[in-house]
Symmetry: D2
Subunit: 305 residues, 4 copies
């Protein structure tokens, strides 16, 4: 398996030159665009790694998956989905114009920024508590107690996040956001700034691929129903407005982040974490997508095959 | 199994009163809103039926699946997807305003009307040939040689289909449509008017759930790759702008039509056809959805579970 | 005065190199982009000409003004404005996406294509009659009995007018268009193909600037109320999505066409016709605008000054 | 003249029952929906009043006219119009979805909220200085040194102005807004909260109708060119997305505010101030519009007549 991973990394490395590191958050610009790493944990829990699998990066939009999970645990399906939909959209992740049209009732889904800000607002806890609860559950799932958010990335996002601020104030205006807007945004920017490596991501993938059970302890910390909801939403909405093509080409429930991470949960119980900060036009890791496409074929992981 | 189907029909029958028969095509208004029927063919080919499973109805948007298949067989992936995307959209099935925005390059996917009209235009053949090829392959898949289109429904759609006509002319204007617009529309309206019953639909479902093999002969008439593409697109786009929630609640690749049919292809090799002309606000059979939601739970068919 | 016109033509001639002849209708591409002409008729009826004032061109969108006038005479204000608004829009003249949004009740105004197609449909008369009535009134206003439409331009517009066809079918679908779509479109394409020169245009301008009186006979053929409505709509909507800036810079009720004509009706009773087929990005004659801007300053014609 | 004003007030009073006092800013809800008042100052400076002409109200969007004037005086046309357009729009005054579309370069015009926030940001001065400069010039124009902003209204707008906050942050994100967002918003909310009565408004109208000269001193405090620009923009954009119909029916450059004021500047040198807090669906004073429509006919003030 490790040879396969090595091979796929080498095969897809050339793609990094066609991608670009995210530049709208200054702290992300420092990443090395040529980095690629992967960690795969099979159904039995055996872990395989290759490339820059040990490099830490901020999880960015991948945090939306965990935030959705905690929001669902805190509020139930009805409590969450009355404020955010679960329909995929063909608009970019930071688009929010539809919310300003008369028919714009609520954000399309929790994987775009507007929906994710709603989800974060629904996590119980004041101030620092929201992000602490996300960190707590991530530490539990990964058994990695060093996981925390990167203060520099957080401050960079906070300082430049005017588009997210515009989204949050429109949500507030529409009665979709409880609490102080800046406090919710702080929680949101902090969750985006949580740092992990491919091994951590793979453990989260394994957790999702195994109905909410923790790799180390096998303890189930989330209901199967919530995991099903999350996997379906990852499939239809997880890769921004490339989710449809990704479902065709890869067919593994996944979620990407603009720092270059991809979290994938294969239905055969495999968890995968990929890293590659050079992004394509949709904001997905360009080499990460290439590797997952190949891996899906080699290991027959496409749920539609 | 038949008892289960009977039970689910009875359980969901009350839903029909909350739905409405499609009224924008005069010929569809004649349907009995209380009808419900189902046919399920298991992986081994055993067939179970219940309710109004023998009633014929026009397949409407379900034809988009077959048209996509034939277009892919005729043109290859590149030939098709340079003119239509494969991204789900949160817009209704007959929306096309995005095509008139500067960024509106091509229809979002082949399951909305604008995309489906492109797909139909890509089927090889002049005049009557396009629809005849669709009918031919449907007869082959179902071993039912009586399948044909309903002339009255066709004429009704042709007469009142001004919205589709607007879409087609805009596509023509954008260089996305080859051939005469009215000829393509005739083919499109005819394919929508093809009549089948739940048993036929279930056979098509079985065909898709078994990598393109025909139930009776086991002959493979379509590449596995195309079937994967279709199943993925059905999952992300098949139930109009309810596809996201449907993936969560049902999790079976499906396609609905406004005459009340739903075609479903479960990954365990099961094919399902459902009929119930009373529709919900999205244009999906309201009782059909209810039955499939229950069936998915009872038989564990949700691919995300 | 003629010296002034000569001077302004020379001063603005360089602008033609920054514009482009309309290319979406093949017949228009043949125009000489360097042509500029003007005719001005003062309040007392004295006529001054300069440049290519005698060249004939199709009036294109300028016909929308006359069509609106006849539609108002035929149906009254209520009959017209229940189907088309009188609000300016910041969208291009051939945009119609808003009509496909749930809030898209009717076209914004009669100076954009969607609104103008509605107006034309409201002109009384079957088949050729609609355009004949427009030609009849134009001949009367200008005392030029040679005015007619150019068959080649008409056929060119008819053949390539798929965008207008899309608009018309959407209007039909929304119940805003009476009659056969293709018949209305024929009338619309024919009215766009009516040919005039600057002298004819100036007479129409004089007619509008003098409360509906014909230059030669002083006969009043249209109510003052309708003329007021038309002048106001020309001011807020007449120069496509440049109408706002044009009101600031020129301040003369005007209407442009993509063949390069501009019709202007100054409130001091002056009528002006300008021709220059090189267009700016909005579809207005680039040199024509330059000349009118200068003329407005020289002769103090800006109604907001 | 005063009799005419009395008569028009009585004639239009019944309209107030079809309108509604603005309720989205709590402080405005306290207004008496039945109030109507008018003040008219003729070209020679003679003042006529009727009804509730002495009642003070916050000028709200009327302040956009003065803010535009000062911004133009501070930055020149180019400095202002590179950040905000001068095109009318058919969208409501608080709509901003187009700014989130790829083609959304800048706000359509300075009379909608998004454009007005840009204009306010361009007024020179830090903190309280911006609004103080507006108050200073309004005092000068009206010779009323009591003019100031209402603290309660300001705080109410500030507290509930999340939509404007969303707009401002999106403008910031697009690089269209200099300075601290909350500071600009404070200035904007304060300018909206400036209180005047019909007599003050009429003096501002007189000032605009007389090329920037102050009624009392005849001192010219603004260039004629800026006044022309403002009058044109008031005509095409001043009455929200009713500006087109208003130009037809009234034809006087005007600007309304949601507290019920209308500022009008007739081209014969007349200045008019109207008050009536019951609003129509566009946000314009319902009785105020009725009175101005009648007045325009009675006194022949329509510039398109």
């Amino acid at each position: 398996m490790e040879k396969l991973l090595d091979r796929l990394i080498e095969k897809n490395r050339y793609l990094t030159q066609f991608g670009q590191v995210a530049n709208y958050i200054p702290a992300l610009e420092k990443a090395n665009p040529e980095d690629i790493g992967i960690c795969l944990i099979d159904g039995k829990g055996k872990q395989y790694c290759s490339g820059a699998y040990h490099k830490k990066f901020s999880i960015q939009s991948i945090s939306k998956v965990i935030a959705l999970m905690v929001a669902l645990m805190d509020n139930g399906e009805e409590g969450v989905f009355k404020r955010v939909g679960m329909e995929p959209t063909d608009e970019p992740f930071n688009s929010f114009y539809k919310l300003d049209l008369p028919q714009g009732e609520k954000p399309a889904n929790p994987m775009i920024n507007s929906g994710a800000i709603v989800t974060t607002s629904l996590i119980k806890g004041e101030g620092e508590e929201k992000v602490n609860r996300l960190i707590y559950i991530l530490r539990k799932i990964t058994s990695n107690h060093d996981i925390t958010y990167n203060e520099e990335v957080f401050l960079s996002e906070k300082e430049t996040g005017h588009k997210n601020r515009a989204i949050a104030y429109l949500l507030k205006n529409k009665g979709l956001l409880e609490g102080e807007v800046e406090e919710v945004l702080d929680a949101y920017f902090k969750q985006c700034s949580i740092e992990m490596d491919c091994r951590d991501l793979a453990k989260v993938g394994w957790f999702l691929a195994n109905k909410g059970r923790i790799l180390k302890s096998k303890e189930q910390v989330c209901s199967e129903e919530i995991i099903t909801t999350i996997l379906a939403i990852m499939t239809t909405c997880g890769m921004y407005n490339f989710s449809g093509e990704y479902a065709v080409r890869v067919g593994i429930p996944s979620k990407s982040g603009v720092a270059g991470g991809i979290l994938a949960a294969a239905v055969n119980g495999m968890g995968i974490g990929v890293y590659g900060p050079a992004l394509d036009q949709y904001g997905n890791s360009i080499a990460g997508y290439g590797i997952l496409k190949d891996l899906s074929k080699e290991l027959n992981l496409n749920i539609f095959y």
